[in-house]
């Protein structure tokens, strides 16, 4: 019934710099807007209603509208936006707008919404008229957009793109009363030294903080110039929440801490030595000042405790009473605590709550459950869930879908300290070192391997001693996460999910790279016989090799990791000793017989970055 939804015809028009967002010369894309079919949503009991159809939705972003009377959810799996009447506590519409929505934001002062489509690599401009949504513009942005923020004046938006490691600063040109066809123009595309996800505007929109999706970097961007003022480093990974305290003097960051000195023993897991889940409170002034120690005056508020941990803290918001509300996505709860940690109140909401917003009057929190497709209403004062709204029926889950639930479930670990996602962030890697039994003993921590493409890159573990993926999953749950012995169907589901994960896309896709350099690099790869160990098409092999790299116990035979997506790894080798691909060959002369001329090195690296 939504077959009439058509792709927007976009016509690129070169235009002079506009005066509204004006930064230098740039290419401006004006979008001829197609009237896109839209219609109001129907009642949930209408069998013809799209939100009565069984499908996976995956709400990942929330926006409150109409003074809190309406809640909009961007649904990752369905590519839809659901409209929830918060007074009536029901879904009133669901509108398809894209493939895989990853973020949603409201443009201040009007009806316009912005959404990002991670699969289509687009920024969507959507006009909302009560329960109908009209996509008025689709605009290509840097690949894999995952978050969008709008400036307080509504004139700009900022789109963070994960795998392309870019921040797109986009000027919003909307017509009168925000109802006319709009124009979007790229102000600047900023290259980031990490894969970004979360963003937060601070200092009334003068600066933008962009957080690392996997590890602990934080970029400070001057929004006027689009320049990166500083790259800050936190002892953190899996940053999933950014917020300001009530007076704006402190930055709150939800994240995890993986201690490379801790071991995956029952004791270290139990006492929170291995994995910490915190909301870190930083003095904003020190975050923004690149000369200052970012941690000066900082505090780490624990989320969860020994015996009752809380894996994967996610979105943070402040309640009307000044409490910090945090989604504890790995254990299906949200938590409330004051700045002095004197109390910690927990509310079970189930599933994987990743996103929350506080109601306009501050009395309620709306929580999106990404895996169960529900919205929970939580009373702040009573710390109690008062309602759970289904966004629509789910179909029978596939084995892989069940596996996805287990992947993000902290209950698989001892006391809920971590999920698979805690280290293998969204299937990739936090890039940190972990001292587990993957190499048979403790004392030689090794880099957490990416699971993207893992179904095709066996055997597993750095020493390549695990021949079956199922066995590796069991081993990880029992000896790393220290959880109970998993059931066979859990392991099968997890394996099925992992097999759906494809390799990380190259940072420099072939279409955007120097083809000649890549071609030449491929030839060098062949000439140097790199493929003996890194054998195409996955650029790995089943054996272990001694390439002169020893761990702390002088073990030197490792299974070569796949080179697919190698450009998305910030450090290389088993202990992160190489800071980049160039160092692999220059500093560590990895399998370089004789001299590697600089041009050859450049081309070889270009080839590797295209994989």
């Amino acid at each position: 019934m939504w077959g009439s939804l058509m792709a927007t015809d976009a016509i690129a028009i070169l235009r002079q710099p506009n005066t509204r967002c004006g930064i230098g010369a740039r290419v401006v894309v004006a979008l001829l807007l197609a009237a896109i079919a839209s219609r109001p949503g129907s009642a949930a009991d209408d069998p013809e209603s799209p939100f009565a159809s069984a499908r996976l939705r995956g709400p990942v972003a929330l926006v409150l509208a109409d003074a809190g009377k309406t809640l909009l959810t961007a649904n990752r799996r369905a590519g839809t936006i659901s409209i929830v009447d918060t007074t009536a506590g029901r879904v009133v519409a669901e509108v398809p707008v894209g493939k895989n929505l990853s973020a949603l934001a409201a443009v201040p002062g009007g009806r316009l919404l912005l959404a990002t489509d991670e699969a289509a690599h687009e920024l969507l401009l959507i006009d909302r008229n009560e329960n109908s949504l009209k996509t008025v513009a689709r605009w290509p942005v840097a690949q894999y957009p995952v978050s969008v923020r709008v400036s307080p004046d509504g004139e700009r938006c900022y789109v963070a793109s994960l795998w392309s490691r870019r921040l797109s600063i986009v000027c919003l040109e909307s017509g009168a009363e925000n109802t006319q066809p709009a124009e979007l123009s790229l102000v600047k595309s900023v290259s980031l030294p990490f894969a970004p996800r979360q963003q937060l505007l601070v200092e009334n929109g003068k600066r933008l903080l962009v957080a690392d999706s996997f590890a602990g970097k934080l970029a400070v961007v001057d929004t006027a110039s689009g320049e990166i003022e500083a790259i800050r480093q936190l002892p953190a990974h899996n940053i999933r929440g950014l917020a300001l305290n009530p007076d704006g003097s402190r930055l709150l960051v939800s994240h995890q801490i993986l201690n490379a000195l801790a071991r995956t023993t029952p004791d270290d897991v139990h006492w929170g030595m291995l994995m910490g889940n915190v909301v870190r409170s930083l003095k904003l002034a020190y975050v923004l000042d690149k000369e200052a120690d970012i941690l000066r005056g900082s505090l780490a508020h624990p989320v969860g405790e020994a015996g009752n941990a809380a894996a994967d803290p996610a979105t943070i918001a402040l309640t009307a009473g000044g409490e910090i509300a945090v989604a504890m996505s790995g254990v299906g709860e949200i938590g409330f605590f004051p700045d002095d940690d004197s109390t910690f109140r927990r509310v079970a909401v189930g599933g994987r709550p990743t996103e929350l917003v506080v109601s306009a009057d501050g009395s309620r929190v709306f929580v999106a459950d990404e895996l169960r497709d529900t919205i929970s209403f939580v009373d702040v004062k009573e710390a109690r869930r008062t309602a759970e709204i289904s966004l629509g029926p789910q179909p029978e889950l596939s084995l892989a879908d069940r596996g996805e639930r287990f992947f993000y479930d902290g209950h698989l670990s001892h006391d809920g300290w971590m999920s698979c996602h805690s280290c293998h962030t969204d299937g990739h890697s936090n890039g940190l070192l972990n001292d587990n039994l993957g190499d048979g003993g403790f004392g030689a921590p090794k880099r957490v391997l990416s699971l993207l493409g893992v179904g095709r890159t066996g055997p597993w573990a750095w020493n390549g001693e695990v021949a079956e993926l199922d066995a590796q999953i069991k081993k990880s749950i029992e000896t790393t996460m220290r959880g109970k012995k998993p059931k066979d169907d859990q392991v099968a589901a997890l394996a099925a999910f992992l097999r759906t994960l494809t390799s990380a896309p190259p940072l420099n896709p072939k279409s955007e790279s120097d083809q000649a350099a890549i071609t030449r690099g491929r030839e060098i790869f062949a000439e140097r016989q790199c493929g003996r160990c890194h054998t195409p098409p996955e650029y790995t092999s089943e054996a272990t090799y001694d390439v002169g790299l020893k761990d702390q116990f002088n073990y030197s035979k490792f299974n070569p990791p796949s080179l697919r997506g190698v450009s998305q790894r910030d450090a290389l080798f088993h202990d992160n000793r190489a800071a980049n691909l160039e160092e692999v060959f220059t500093r560590f002369t990895h399998q370089v017989d004789g001299e590697l001329p600089e041009k050859d090195l450049t081309d070889l690296v270009a080839f590797l970055r295209s994989l």
């Binding site: 000195l261 004791d267 006492w271 941690l295 780490a300 002088n554």
Partner: protein, 503 residues
């Protein structure tokens, strides 16, 4: 004094809670041992297992022949053989494994030796071998190992009592109920006699028998009839569970007795934390206390490491990591490898002046922590020169013997001060270099007490299980804890400087 000797002594009281002493660690037939294995062959087999482990893991192992000689001499001494000519030369000539087996058989055929039990001979051999081992060594039966690991992780599973024995009434008696433990929850009290345990009369049972009956899996239950006498008793159903021991104590108990008060006095923003033991929960506990202190107006902290020498390297490394803002914690040089430990930037007591108290009894784990903090300039060390115990002992599992061996596997090397990363220097005396370490690497305090005060400290060591603030000493004397007083003085000066700096 070796670390191992201290470790054993330190744990004596705790082990009383649950651990049977291993009178005959080798008496059990090892898995896989031939049923008809002779005394010599059995001795040779176990000796080889232990000696192979030592050769593989000891930081500086003796030769195989030297160890056989030490063991053989111990066997002969145990059997009362006063003189055995040519023993050293005989063992020096042994090379192949079969040579040693043949020697062991000959040894066990000596008339006096034959009179002894094979198990006792094996025990004598290994005891003698380990006594001669540089840094010492200890064989730990599997049963004891489990308990030891539970203590180290601070996750002991039991009923949560310390036992004594009422000699007059001939019943085991509860000497202590561990706060928060299963027995406290069940209603057991200090002084209760244990009259029955499950369906067994406890009259006449010795402590070791009681311990064996009290221990069990987590979640299992035991029914105890306790009281002053059979006529005045009550039944407690105790579910065995984790018994957690405090790792850090304060200056005094708070008014409600439920938690420690860490402030030196009611008006002071300086707090003192006495480290009781460094184990698996020490960092966790420190973080919890930090939160409490921040809400109580604390601005500076004293971490009292005096008399602390017990603890695993791993737990010392984690504690040092928690106190450092990055930097090198230290290295452990083993027989063939060097392990390096680097702290991350996540730390407790950020921005606070931190003082560590050390004394001549601060050694091992406590000393490594103090050294790491001092070398990274992350705190000021006050007190006396530490003990200088940098030998690292580890446990090695002995396959085929159902035991583990504790031995000296490495040497802890302090961080190289010249490599301290810029930006991590804090709280040090302005412009002052850290004092050089002692000849054995001892931690030399940044601020030392006087010679006279050291004498006073030596005389009052038994009282220093807990720091006491000025005017509150157990004997009522002023300046009774000169190290603590000096630390307070240093911190007050530091806080005053900080205020004038506007920090």
């Amino acid at each position: 004094m070796t670390i191992q000797a201290i470790r054993t002594g330190f744990f004596a009281a705790v082990l009383l809670l649950a651990t049977p002493l291993a009178a005959d660690p080798l008496s059990a037939t090892a898995p896989g041992a031939p049923v008809e294995e002779g005394a010599g062959a059995a001795l040779a087999r176990e000796a080889q297992i232990v000696i192979d482990a030592i050769l593989e893991h000891h930081v500086d192992p003796p030769t195989r022949q030297e160890m056989w000689l030490a063991g053989a001499r111990a066997v002969l001494a145990y059997a009362g053989v006063v003189q055995h000519r040519g023993l050293s030369a005989e063992i020096s000539g042994l090379t192949a494994p079969d040579d040693f087996v043949a020697f062991a058989k000959r040894l066990c055929l000596i008339d006096e030796v034959r009179l002894k039990s094979p198990a006792a001979l094996r025990e004598a051999f290994i005891d003698g071998l380990l006594e001669a081992l540089p840094g010492g060594g200890r064989l730990i039966p599997q049963k004891e190992l489990i308990v030891q690991e539970q203590f180290e992780g601070n996750r002991y599973i039991g009923t949560g009592i310390a036992l004594t024995y009422d000699q007059e009434k001939k019943f085991p008696q509860i000497a202590q109920v561990i706060p928060g433990g299963p027995m406290e929850r069940a209603g057991g009290r200090h002084g209760d006699l244990i009259l029955r345990i499950d369906d067994r009369d406890a009259h006449g049972l010795n402590i070791q028998q009681m311990i064996d009956l009290l221990r069990g899996e987590e979640g299992s239950s035991v029914a105890l009839v306790v009281g002053e006498a059979v006529s005045n008793s009550r039944t407690l159903n105790v579910t065995r569970g984790p018994v957690v021991f405090e790792t850090i104590e304060g200056v005094r108990k708070a008014d409600d007795q439920s938690r420690w008060d860490f402030h030196i006095d009611a008006r002071s923003s300086i707090c003192c934390l006495k480290v009781v033991r460094i184990n698996g929960s020490a960092v966790h506990d420190l973080k919890k206390i930090e939160s409490q202190l921040r809400n109580s107006g604390a601005k500076a902290v004293i971490l009292d490491l005096r008399t602390v020498h017990e603890g695993e390297l791993h737990h010392a490394v984690l504690l040092a990591d928690a106190l450092l803002d990055g930097g090198l914690i230290g290295r452990v040089r083993g027989q063939a490898e060097v392990q390096e430990f680097r702290a991350d930037r996540d730390r407790v007591f950020r921005d606070w002046p931190v003082v560590l108290l050390v004394d001549r009894h601060t050694g091992g784990a406590g000393e490594w922590v103090a050294a790491a903090v001092q070398d990274n300039r992350a705190g000021i060390v006050v007190g006396e020169e530490s003990a200088g115990m940098f030998q690292v002992h580890s446990r090695v599992t002995l396959s085929g013997m159902d035991s583990a061996l504790t031995l000296n596997t490495g040497v802890f090397e302090r961080p190289d001060k010249r490599r301290v990363p810029a930006g991590y220097v804090q709280h040090s005396r302005a412009g002052a270099e850290a004092p050089p370490p002692g000849p054995k690497g001892q931690v030399t305090p940044d601020f030392s007490i006087s010679a006279g005060e050291r004498e006073l400290m030596a005389a009052r060591l038994p009282m220093l299980r807990r720091p006491f603030p000025p005017g509150a000493a157990p004997d009522g004397s002023p300046a009774s804890d000169p190290i603590l007083n000096l630390a307070v003085k240093v911190l007050k000066a530091r806080l005053n400087v900080g205020q004038s700096d506007g920090n």
